[in-house]
Symmetry: none
Subunit: 217 residues, 4 copies
């Protein structure tokens, strides 16, 4: 009976197994975003999750599986309740667009979710099913949402007639670019000194999208 502990025991190992995968995914998410898939060692992930290397593989058979879980888990959350907001929005379509883009930036663009998107785009070729999944979970519904906004604007005469399919890209591009930038070049802040001020950029972006660059005659 070696070294009997005194009084109150610190409850190590108290976490339930149900929470483990989540903790591992959380840890992996952060590391993958920080360093990319290849450069992240599975041991690091375990460590950051406060778990041993072996435990990681108890929950995820492969590092790739872990990656997929990370992405899947976090992609689903990329669309909160936007559809509702859209349905109930009072105001012009221009306002709605402005609102959507700002909202997007605050609720995901500048959060970790942005890192996921970057991750997905970076690794898509090596993980076709992730690509497919992302397509289904994010791109398609996102596109639908934006199409609706645009369609409404066109129907009401606020917007001019458009090829919706293409126009959606026009809305998406600056958002994705903003987020890619922040998660790649933007990280090297010390060295790469580029004044990218997201909020201002979005402001201008909305303005240009709606009104164009040309001066009104």
């Amino acid at each position: 009976m070696p070294s009997r502990p005194t009084a109150i025991e610190t409850p190590r190992r108290t976490r339930r197994k149900e929470t483990r995968p989540g903790e591992l995914i959380e840890a992996a998410l952060n590391l993958f975003i920080e360093k990319g898939f290849a450069a992240t060692k599975s041991e690091e992930v375990a460590q950051r999750a406060g778990v041993s290397k072996g435990t990681l593989f108890l929950y995820f058979a492969t590092k790739e599986d872990l990656f997929k879980a990370v992405v899947r888990e976090n992609i689903s959350s990329l669309f909160p309740s936007w559809n509702d907001e859209l349905a109930n929005f009072k105001g012009s379509c221009g306002e709605m667009l402005a609102y959507a883009m700002n909202s997007w930036w605050h609720s995901m663009g500048k959060t970790k979710a942005g890192g996921i998107v970057k991750l997905v785009m970076s690794e898509a070729q090596n993980f076709p099913d992730i690509a497919l999944f992302y397509q289904q979970e994010v791109i398609t519904p996102g596109t639908q949402l934006l199409k609706k906004i645009l369609q409404r604007g066109v129907d009401s005469g606020e917007f001019r007639s458009l090829d919706l399919e293409q126009a959606v890209f026009t809305l998406v591009a600056p958002m994705i670019y903003l987020m890619m930038w922040n998660n790649s070049m933007g990280c090297c802040v010390s060295t790469v000194n580029q004044d990218m001020k997201p909020e201002q950029f979005i402001q201008l972006q909305v303005d240009v999208l709606l009104n164009g660059l040309k001066a009104k005659q």
Copy 2:
């Protein structure tokens, strides 16, 4: 009499000091684009260049050096004629913008150079000096170029007054996005079936940038 060789044999061990680096960079370029930096093994690169493992390291001390060479070789060449074209361009600034964007797409967006840009953005965090290099060689001069166009437009009254710094991003974003898309999700054509028609997209993009989405009253 074992395995009698047929007709003309391709000679092993050809000496081609001058052309080797180019061939190796070409091979690396393709593989890096296909599979990413980490997933590409240096032996593969050598093989694809029709050379032995050792030869690769005769020309590039490190896989990382090879990567840098690939980036340098394929990126630095991107801003040669553009400055000239800009200086001599006859036409409105809107036309110039349209021309620039189309030109960009044809001369690099849809070429392998596009793949490099994707590569750089994907790996920037792990290669700070690549990021810096890219910043200096590509981003800064590119930004200058676009600023000039915009400034000219503003000066002539064709464009409205703008925060140039930010507006440049507005021009760049769709281009980068287009190229990122084509080199990540777009590759998984079989699975991800999204109708991205670059030329049309650019067309619309230019139109929207200039005129905005709003219907003219």
Copy 3:
């Protein structure tokens, strides 16, 4: 039913964290002595320790680190009891010298430790920190020890007056030489047939050191 195993199987993958480093050092010691540092491959070391290649690097980050560990482990232990023995020695200084030299031969000269000394002298140029370490751990304390003996002899009038610093070399030289010989030329016994009988040599050596070669008048 392929190759039915006999009786008791030695279990692969035994967990012996405590004993591993020692076993690895032991294996490395022998191989380094046998073949030198450069000619010993790390996999061999692992093999001889009954362990896989990876395990070696679990305990020693570098082959060089392993080398250092080997030296440290086998050298630091060389000056434990000697200081005590010296302090408590009853007898003349001449006897003490004779005792010290014989003792040295038995406790390290002819053991594997002798091989290490040879190793250190052979590789010193390529491993400056090993040289420094050896200097601090072995040479300096050893020199101190011998100086004390000599000083005592000089003080008591048993020995004549001497430049101690230099005289120490005189005591050390034959010991080191003996050991170098045994671990280089001496190994090639089959070919190099030289009658080096260490015990006799030391005997004579002590005699000459004390009494000189000259006949007493």
Copy 4:
């Protein structure tokens, strides 16, 4: 007829093939002494000899062969005309011994030859035929020489009766040690600060060998 050289041509490639091996051996000698056999790259050798890598292998089929040549070439020179000097020496045997040891130090101990001896002792195990060769060319004749001196001393009554075979080692040991030291630990002068003054050491050594440590009663 490209770029015709003017007037007097600088005679590159003038060295005759007869001198090549010597130059290569010279270069190799220095490098082997500096860095050891394993750590010396064959290209370095070629370079230092002012020759291309290929040329080296034109003269020596193997790096090992080169090593052997280096040692053989330089070992033969380890015994100049000492036998003559001995035969004609006027003076006591003690004086002769003193002379021999000082002479040894000046003519080879402190020269590159010392490096060769160190080299041989370090690599003997990996090159048995070198060991054999060294035994035949250096050790045996050297031993004979010293035996003669001692024998003469014993015969004349100047020295006491001795087991010559063993006594020779007594003479050799400090010499070899001195030279090993200078070519291993001694190199790390900056870090290993040990005051080894060869000339003084030899002086004392001779004195002790002849007269012993003991005070004369």
